[in-house]
Amino acid sequence: MRDHLRVLESRFGIPAEVFEQFATRAEQETVFIGTREALQFDEVRPLRRGIRLLRIFPRSIKPTTWAMQLFGRYARRNLIDVTAEQAAELINGSQIRIDADVEDGFVLIRWQRYVVGVGLYHRPVLKSHIPRNRPVD
């Protein structure tokens, strides 16, 4: 599990210590994060404990939008700043063209000081990986 958190550190500069006060738990290809009490709750079989932190793919790791909205504030690298209009386009499922000083691959999309979600960058195209169930004007 620590290896996955190190990927978040190496890719985005989110210090692994940020996650120390929480527990993580892998279920198949998904790693969940939550309080220790929530993740260890096993008196019944909960449908879910905590929130999804990341998905594990064969050759990469993708953090989730909802987790990055919380922990992305600690990120120092591979962040792309967007306007409100660009953020809305990405949330609504479009891709945008943007020239950013980041590495290709998964990036965090930031509006003002808030991380909006996760995208996939192949210069100059930024493709949204944000869940599309909540459209924005």
Partner: protein, 326 residues
């Protein structure tokens, strides 16, 4: 309760409601014409700052054009004068605020969950009160959010994600079965029970369209099971809130009376929420006199705070164990 001078107004307003509704509630709801008048007015939208992700100041700044007015009884909640498109704003997507009816914020405020505690929300979907309690607990401890409905649980999980609640475990079980498995373990329990939703008539006509005394009786039986289940999940000394968004005494005072009659260690505690106007609960209904403690429950009427109608009861499980070391 209906004054002669206001009779014409009541007749005009009452055309919207079933005759039996008027007969039942005209008997005991104070200022009944004001009640009907308020029930016919559209409900103002209200929001709550999600303190897991944002401060009050940040949200005020981001929604500066929305005409926010603070609610007098909750420092992180606002009514919104210009609420159009609120749910499609970027700040909403970011989970910085939650659109939640003002009266629906009351049960968690009365329950007062604290950081590090174990809390059960026995009928949690769609999650407004769950996310409110998770924030009150400062995203620590354990909040068990349960709902038996597969459709509604999807919305619950979506709201937990957006609000960033790390302390929530979601269960999809019958409340009674769940309570048996975690009996005596919770510091606090919220039983915001499924109900006939008469209080939501300001928001939608749905509750009025399916209103019937039979439905009220059916809900009452379900609620009696849930309040006892919630109480079973409490540890000795723990606190529980029972709430509904309905005015029917069978679903409110009658349900609390049911709990008190079966659990001598249950005690109704006075509810205090400065700035919120509340009314006393009924002491009797339809020939049944309720136990003395029921009078400490509170009713929230739409004309008093410009909200939906609500009912709230704060219940303590007395710790009858001998003190340790004695």
């Amino acid at each position: 309760m209906v004054g002669r001078a206001s009779l014409t107004g009541v007749v005009r307003l009452s055309r919207r409601f079933p005759r039996e509704f008027i007969t039942r509630y005209g008997q005991f709801i104070p200022d009944f014409d004001s009640f009907l008048d308020a029930m016919c007015r559209p409900l103002k939208r209200t929001i709550r700052v999600n303190t897991i992700k944002a401060t009050r100041e940040e949200v005020c700044e981001l929604l500066a054009d929305a005409g926010l007015e603070p609610l007098p009884w909750c420092d992180i909640a606002f009514s919104v004068n210009n609420g159009a498109g609120l749910g499609r704003r970027l700040a909403h997507f970011l989970g910085l605020f939650y659109i939640q009816e003002a009266a629906s914020m009351v049960p968690p405020l009365v329950l007062g969950p604290r950081p590090g505690e174990r809390v059960l929300d026995i009928a949690a979907a769609p999650g407004s009160k769950t996310t409110q309690m998770a924030a009150m607990m400062e995203n620590t401890g354990l909040l068990i959010a349960n709902d038996p409905s597969p459709q509604r649980i999807r919305g619950l999980i979506g709201n937990i994600d957006r609000a960033g609640c790390l302390n929530v475990a979601v269960c999809r079980m019958g409340g009674v079965s769940l309570a048996k498995l975690i009996a005596g373990s919770c510091d606090r329990v919220l039983v915001d029970a499924p109900c006939s939703s008469e209080g939501t008539i300001r928001k939608s006509n749905e509750a009025l369209a399916r209103w019937s005394v039979r439905a009220i009786e059916r809900f009452s039986r379900l609620q009696q099971g849930l309040i006892c289940a919630g109480f079973q999940a409490l540890r000795p000394g723990g606190m529980m809130v029972y709430s509904t968004c309905t005015v029917a005494p069978e679903e409110n005072e009658g349900v609390v009376a049911h709990l008190l009659s079966r659990h001598p260690d249950a005690e109704v505690v006075e509810v205090e929420l400065p700035g919120l106007v509340t009314r006393p609960a009924l002491t009797e209904w339809s020939g049944t006199v309720f136990p003395e403690g029921v009078s400490r429950c509170r009713r929230i009427l739409p004309q008093d705070n410009d909200t939906e109608a609500f009912f709230v009861a704060l219940i303590k499980k007395r710790d009858e164990r001998p003190p340790q070391g004695s």
